[in-house]
Subunit: 146 residues, 2 copies
DNA sequence: GACTTACCGATGCATTTGCATGAAAAGGCT
DNA sequence: AGCCTTTTCATGCAAATGCATCGGTAAGTC
């Protein structure tokens, strides 16, 4: 019922635009380098950090839709970056794991990704603002009714 | 070449997540009300605020890809919300204008959209932080090399 | 004027998304 | 055990997206 304040609307537009531009910039950088898109990186990183795990876990930690993740994993398996092996204690699911190529790919992507992030964000946020920005975005980065 | 600082990476993840969640929330709200998605609203608002104008102008102000806008406009014309009329002084383009239904639609969408924005953003940003957040996001909301 | 370049907007085609639904297994209850 | 609910993951189908490219016009140059 409550209408957003004018300042809230400004934050709204800038937030969406900023995120869109940043994402776009990174995607373009990776693409230009002949590498897969950012979401592939997120999966690779999650698997490297968290070890072998099931799709459901990734779904939660990455915040992607179930069907989107399912098909993303399809593509990554097809590309030989990850494997799906039957889960021993739960016949419904699989365990996902990195292949050697998967690890290699993540390593190859990181420098490009990192530089794009730095250009899109790091270089444009005043150093002193960075922590404050992270703090303010914190509550916004969790699902709305939560 | 410069790698992003740890705090930059935190901002990165939170920024993307926050924007994604907020957008998602609004899209869901509009959809639940049987209304068109947010990008339709953006076009309707731009036309109402800026008067009749050409696609190129919208493309710049909304920051959408040329082909995406072209097809979005297709759909909106098909839905009877806007019209494309030949542009008198430039035979390449059209002038876009709102129909009465277009105006009506924008009015119908706003309350729903506004409430969703308030829930996703307004209610979760400390009042004192709001202006600061807008200020920090400002530079990020313009194309990277600009 | 003829020619080249830049610009505006649409579109073919393959890929990806979104929504709804399905299939199969796990967990809970009596 | 039998039955119902929940969880996990995949998928059919229609719609949207991304990329490249094209047709057409305007604008600049000689």
């Amino acid at each position: 019922m409550a209408k957003p304040a004018a300042m809230t609307l400004l934050v709204w537009t800038r937030l969406l635009r900023a995120a869109d531009l940043a994402e776009q910039h990174c995607a373009a950088a990776l693409r230009a380098a002949g590498l897969p898109p950012p979401d592939w990186y997120d999966v690779l990183l999650a698997l490297e950090r968290g070890g072998p795990q099931r799709p459901r876990a990734l779904q939660t930690s990455l915040g992607t839709e179930q069907y989107a993740l399912s098909r993303l994993l399809d593509r990554m398996v097809r590309a030989g970056l990850i494997t799906r092996t039957p889960c021993p204690d739960d016949a419904r699911g699989h365990t996902l794991d990195l292949t050697t190529e998967g690890r290699t790919m993540r390593s190859a992507m990181w420098p490009v990704y990192a530089e794009a992030i730095e250009a899109a964000l790091g270089a444009r946020v005043v150093e002193d603002d960075c922590a404050a920005l992270a703090r303010m975005l914190g509550p916004l980065a969790v699902p709305v009714s939560g």
